[in-house]
């Protein structure tokens, strides 16, 4: 096959495939995005003149050379007085400064200053050796309360290794790395790039606090957009981005830059990344503040429960208890007045029930761990009485109460009542066996208790079989 035939044949093979995949993705993403359609493809002449210095002017960046490598860096500073939504940048800085000890609680490991926020823009979401982090954005607060960002841009694939060297230096300055979903996405992605070049990843063995999980705990169903950073910045800071570039457009904009040398499509990508970094910093300040100031500043039951979890996971049991108690108080307060519409109440009830259950259960478990068995039993009892308690929690509570009455309160009659109720609720055979076993043991104890009170000959048979113990209303 001569080369011309080969090329024709190849075009026939490559093209239909990508057209067919089109509906699923590839070629759709490869189409020039609508925002940049206005910019025509540069001719080769334009391109060659642009290649040398074009992007440094367009993106307002410069080359940084260190012993570790060479990287194209775009530096930007949000001034302390600038607004991000309805908050000043300086507010974030001050709040974070004051609340910095909370980092260790949230991150569940020692986290020291300085904090460096980071966020990647990548050529795809699938990972693997062929997916690159083309932009590594880092940010931190400076002495004056401004927010500085440094964005490393991979201007050419062959420059990746060198860029990663410089990025590593930046990361190594961090006492703690801060990210949004970075433990699942950004850090593994970077790790792959470093592994690819047989370099040590600067993320490895460095304190890293990923705010996505705490954020979900505090504001789990933040508005329509779920718990994304975008939804959170809207809800918490009232940030409204104008003309923001959509996430799915980002890779194709980068490929366009790589092919043409025209950096214009990247201007908005870099801006997007900077805003993400700033929102991440604000979010971090808000979470740390709540954790630092304690349950009294929580204004919603959800926040109080989230705080309780953070404290509990950090081993601060007293504060955790305080937070869960606070949650219960806030939940009580939300009980509707006479004028509240019924449907609103029904909706709130659906949202509140899991919070009530979690607060009560956590309090019960905390009390039990501290050997305050009576207090624990009181929580379990409230759970059993709580109408919206899901069955598996009810079972757990009833089992705990049976144990409590058998071993702690030594009220075998009450223990038996709970054991019987537990047996009724138990769905799984294996667990049912355990419940039956408990019941049998309690009954044996009941019999021997009576035997020790009355010698066997005097046992009043008329009082019924040993199984019909005294019943409380249930």
């Amino acid at each position: 096959m001569d080369i011309a035939t080969l090329k024709d044949r190849l075009r026939g093979i490559v093209k239909p495939a990508s057209e067919l995949e089109g509906s699923a993705g590839e070629s759709v993403r490869l189409k020039p995005d609508p925002t940049s359609r206005a910019t025509p493809e540069p001719t080769s002449q334009e391109r060659s003149s642009d290649v040398g210095s074009g992007f440094s002017q367009t993106l307002c960046g410069s080359w940084r050379e260190t012993s570790a490598g060479r990287s194209f860096v775009v530096t930007h500073r949000f001034a302390a007085a600038d607004f991000h939504g309805r908050h000043r940048v300086s507010e974030f800085a001050e709040t974070l400064q004051a609340a910095s000890p909370a980092a260790s609680l949230v991150g569940r490991s020692s986290a020291s200053m300085p904090f460096i926020f980071f966020d990647l823009e990548t050529t795809g979401l699938n990972g693997g050796a062929g997916t690159h982090a083309f932009l590594v954005g880092c940010g931190w607060f400076d002495e004056e309360g401004g927010f500085v960002t440094e964005q490393h841009l991979m201007t050419d694939f062959s420059g990746e290794r060198s860029m990663l060297g410089v990025v590593a230096e930046d990361f190594r300055r961090a006492g703690t790395l801060m990210s949004f979903n970075g433990k699942s996405f950004d850090a593994p992605m970077l790790e792959t790039r470093y592994l690819f070049h047989r370099l040590e990843s600067p993320c490895a063995n460095r304190p890293h606090v990923d705010l996505v999980h705490p954020a979900r705990r505090f504001w789990g169903n933040a508005g329509e957009g779920g718990c994304s950073l975008g939804a959170l910045e809207q809800q918490l800071f009232a940030v409204a981005r104008k003309g923001d570039v959509a996430g799915f457009e980002i890779p194709s904009r980068y490929f366009r830059f790589v092919r043409t040398g025209d950096a214009q499509p990247l201007v908005e990508v870099l801006h997007h990344n900077r805003l993400d970094l700033l929102s991440l910093a604000g979010l971090t300040a808000r979470i740390f503040h709540l954790v630092q100031a304690g349950p009294t500043v929580a204004t919603e039951a959800r926040e109080a429960v989230a705080l309780g979890r953070v404290y509990r996971d950090a081993g601060l049991e007293e504060r955790a208890e305080e937070a869960f108690e606070r949650a219960l108080v806030l939940l009580e307060r939300e009980t509707p007045g006479a004028e509240t519409p019924a449907h609103w109440f029904a909706m709130r009830r659906r949202e509140r029930a899991p919070l009530t259950v979690e607060a009560l259960r956590s309090l019960a478990l905390l009390a039990r761990r501290q050997h305050r068995y009576d207090a624990a039993a009181a929580r379990w009892r409230r759970l059993v009485e709580f109408a919206d308690c899901p069955p598996h929690i009810s079972r757990e509570a009833i089992e705990a109460l049976a144990i409590y009455h058998e071993h702690r309160a030594r009220d075998l009659a009450a223990a038996k009542v709970f054991a019987l109720r537990g047996l009724e609720l138990e769905g799984r055979p294996a667990r049912g066996d355990a419940a039956r076993h408990r019941l049998a043991r309690i009954e044996r104890k009941l019999v021997s208790e009576r035997c020790s009170l009355f010698p066997s000959s005097t046992l009043p048979l008329s009082s019924g079989s040993p199984t019909s113990g005294p019943r409380t209303s249930s």
Partner: protein, 816 residues
């Protein structure tokens, strides 16, 4: 039996079994001693005796780690069979080796020994094992782990053995990457799960000493062509990490194990083919169910016949395996045998079915029952053909010819102990291939088995893997991808790249999938905005798409374009997929579609949307599509004076109708017409031109002459399938009867071709002779499904006309 001495207690059960086997064989073929002439017209057409062979031993090689030697001795292996010694010596010396010895000859030690040796010598060493299925990897895992436990005791070091496949839980994967010395996987997982993530496997690739490819013969046709490319990618990644692994392959008996290994790995190989393992005496019996309707050429059901044969052995308490050709046939035969041998209530089941689709736990239980002897008979699909350990059984019964000589030997090998007698019985169905084999026993026993063919440079397959490779590691401006053997003027083999990968990359760049940067090649073929100066690093092609190309490439088909099958019986759900090429012929409206023995009928085919909507149904027939294909020759690669050619063709095919075929009897019970869009493809083809002079000498009317060609092509296709070791749908057939010199095309039914045409061209003579035998020896009067096609397809003179054409062609050939 006079040599039976009371002293040999251990021999008693063995001799009891041998006696039972003799008695059953005697029932099957009364008064017929083995090794007498074949009798194609009788029920038992052949009985062959394969004599016992004694073991040939060699001591452990001196170089072998002494700890490994003690571990082997602890497991009762005091010395090696000769083929093991030979293979281990090659492996230790760093030579690629392919071992092809029979089932149960201790093949696994040939590769396990050098692998474990290398880890004992250097605990950083790693090995990658590739099995064609997940089940085989699981089976080997147990054996390797036991071996490693013995070793751990003596070395104090833990050797990590893990399977890594689609079933491996996400949270276990990181541990495996860090701790596995031996990774047991399959080509699909390496393709989509390991190579694209190679940075995470850096430790493996840096230290990869051995790659084991088990069941090499499974990698032929499309799957093999893909595997070759996966191995190109693997070796490329190894080079990146500075390793150069030695390949250790094992294969069932095929005609060209070394050639296949060399084509797959693109490296020279050593071949070890003389087994030193002992083997007991074995009888091989061919059974042809008797004809019940001479005119239509219909024989008694082969399933019923298999049931009778199996019962003869089973009632003499011999342990057996019955191989069936489909999942449905497996279930039916299991039911038959259970009916014949009522189980004792409460006792362990003595008769079991076994096939893919059974839960792993159930399969393990059946395998164990077979090893321990509590399961007396298992009816299986080809799932038990490959190396799963089920111990050695007394008898293997094959219900239907397995399709290839290699696979028949493999299945027969499931019966056979190292000492004592065993038997293998093949019961032919009425399919042409079966009939040819059963009536020509020497074709099976004396001919070499099939050649496994691949074409890794099929452009469709190649392009897919170039994409994957570019994703994994940028291509340099001078890099090549793969080598193709050819013979130079002096007759020595030279390896060159068949298609210029730089050209492929150039086309991918046009689509924006890759991008070239840096210094271009000297000839300036590559590069768009690269600097044209000489400074700077060598240019490279980088993947510039956010897609993950391996996800779009299935190793089992040529193009990723496919039809999905949606079951609408209840909630719509996807139950299968079919590649684009065979979509219309298997998923046309009213087609019967089979999944795990369950029948579905296609209600609607959405051709544009690539979807087929099906509903569960009950029917006693299946469907076959009637496809008309028109072939145009684009380029003739070679022509022989004996009317054969091969080359590149353009095929336009259309499914015009379908036939309903009754299960078991293969009766035609109805038909329908269809109106489906045309499909087009470039592929390669073999063709035979029948000279006008030959046509002119036929003493028949033009219509009958035409029928003769149709009949001839039907039979040729069956034989071609036999010669090429391929499935029916791998090749297509087309006729050009209008021309003065009519042509019969047998083309590769895959876009781009898969390497069948050129070998078929070389086997032209054999093809004609075997086709003549198939037609001439058939007992039917005017054609039947076993030779030139069912009567009704063609006129009453078709069979004679076909024979006459063949005679004239063969006579001409002799003259030439």
């Amino acid at each position: 039996m006079s040599d039976l001495t009371p002293a040999s207690h251990a021999l008693a059960p063995r001799i009891g079994r041998d006696g039972a086997l003799d008695a059953a064989l005697e029932r099957l073929a009364p008064d017929r001693l083995p090794d007498r002439p074949d009798t194609p017209d009788l029920r038992v057409t052949a009985v062959r005796r394969l004599p016992a062979v004694t073991a040939q031993h060699v001591p452990f090689p001196d170089a072998l780690d002494s700890r490994l030697r003690s571990a082997l001795e602890a497991r009762g292996i005091m010395q090696l069979y000769t083929h093991q010694g030979e293979a281990i010596a090659h492996a230790l010396a760093g030579r690629h080796v392919v071992v092809t010895t029979p089932t149960a000859s201790g093949k696994t030690l040939c590769y396990n020994a050098p692998v474990l040796h290398s880890i004992l010598q250097d605990s950083a060493s790693r090995a990658l094992y590739l099995f064609p299925t997940k089940a085989l990897a699981q089976d080997q895992l147990a054996e390797l782990q036991a071996m490693c436990e013995t070793l751990d005791g003596s070395t104090g070091e833990q050797i990590g053995v893990f399977t890594y496949d689609g079933d491996t839980p996400q949270d276990a994967r990181r541990t495996i990457r860090a701790r596995a010395h031996l990774v047991l996987s399959n080509p699909d997982m390496v393709h989509s799960g390991i190579l694209p993530h190679h940075p995470r496997w850096a430790k493996l690739f840096e230290n990869l000493r051995y790659v084991v490819v088990d069941e090499l013969h499974a990698y032929r046709g499309v799957f093999g062509s893909h595997l070759c490319n996966v191995l190109r990618r693997l070796r490329r990644i190894c080079r990146h990490y500075g390793s150069n692994p030695v390949f250790l392959c094992s294969s069932a008996t095929i005609a060209n194990p070394r050639e296949l290994a060399e084509r797959l790995v693109e490296q020279p190989f050593e071949l070890v083919e003389r087994s030193g393992a002992p083997r007991g005496e074995k009888f091989f019996v061919f059974v042809n169910p008797p004809v019940v309707n001479h005119q239509l050429g219909i024989r008694r059901s082969y399933l019923g016949e298999s049931r009778r044969v199996a019962a003869e052995f089973l009632k003499r308490n011999l342990q057996l395996i019955v191989f069936a050709q489909s999942r449905l046939a497996t279930e039916i035969l299991t039911t038959y045998l259970k009916d014949d041998f009522q189980e004792i209530p409460g006792a362990p089941e003595r008769i079991r079915g076994y096939r893919g689709g059974y839960l792993p736990l159930r399969r393990r239980e059946i395998e164990k029952g077979l090893r321990e002897g509590s399961v007396r008979a298992v009816v299986s699909t080809n799932a038990l053909e490959l190396g799963i350990d089920i111990g050695a059984l007394d008898v293997a019964v094959m219900a239907g010819y397995p399709g290839t000589i290699a696979s028949t030997w493999q299945r027969a090998g499931r019966a056979g102990r190292r000492t004592g007698r065993s038997a293998a019985v093949m019961v032919a169905s009425s399919a042409p291939l079966d009939q040819f084999i059963v009536r020509n026993p020497s074709y099976f026993f004396d001919a070499s088995p099939e050649r496994a063919l691949i074409d890794p440079d099929n452009l469709h397959i190649l392009v897919d893997h170039v994409k994957c490779a570019a994703f994994e590691l940028p291509f340099t401006a001078t890099e090549q991808f793969g080598r193709h053997p050819s013979t130079d003027a002096q007759g020595s083999v030279i390896w060159t790249e068949r298609h210029d990968v730089q050209a492929v990359l150039g086309i991918l760049a046009e689509q924006g999938l890759v991008h070239f940067t840096g210094r271009a090649r000297q000839d300036g073929a590559a590069g768009q905005n690269g600097h044209d100066g000489q400074e700077g690093p060598e240019g490279q092609w980088t993947w510039t798409s956010e897609s993950y190309p391996a996800d779009a490439v299935s190793l089992r088909s040529v193009t990723s374009d496919n039809f999905v099958v949606i079951d609408t019986t209840a909630e719509p759900r996807v139950i299968g997929e079919t590649d684009f090429t065979s979509g219309p012929s298997t998923l046309h409206p009213k087609a019967i579609y089979l999944v795990e023995g369950q029948l579905f009928q296609v209600e609607r085919l959405d051709f544009e949307g690539r979807k087929a909507f099906v509903r569960a149904t009950e029917s006693d027939y299946y469907t076959t599509a009637i496809t008309y294909a028109r072939v145009t020759i684009i380029d003739t690669f070679a022509e022989s004076p004996s009317f054969a050619s091969h080359g590149e063709v353009h095929v336009v095919s259309r499914v015009v109708g379908f036939k309903k075929i009754k299960f078991y009897t293969n009766e035609n019970v109805g038909s329908g017409e269809l109106d489906l869009p045309e499909q087009q493809m470039h592929t390669t083809s073999y063709w035979m031109t029948i000279p006008a002079a030959v046509m002119a000498r036929l003493p028949y009317a033009p219509d009958d002459r035409r029928d003769g060609i149709v009949a001839l092509s039907f039979a040729m296709k069956q034989v071609a399938q036999l010669l090429l070791m391929c499935d029916g749908h791998d090749i297509g057939i087309s006729l050009d009867t209008e021309a003065e010199n009519p042509r019969v095309f047998i083309y590769d039914n895959y876009p781009g071709g898969i390497g069948f045409s050129e070998p078929l061209f070389r086997m032209h003579q054999e093809l004609l002779e075997a086709t003549r035998r198939l037609i001439a020896e058939c007992e039917c009067e005017n054609g039947c499904p076993g030779c030139v096609g069912p009567i009704g397809n063609t006129g009453p003179l078709a069979r004679l006309a076909a024979l006459r054409i063949l005679d004239l062609l063969l006579a001409n050939e002799l003259a030439a």
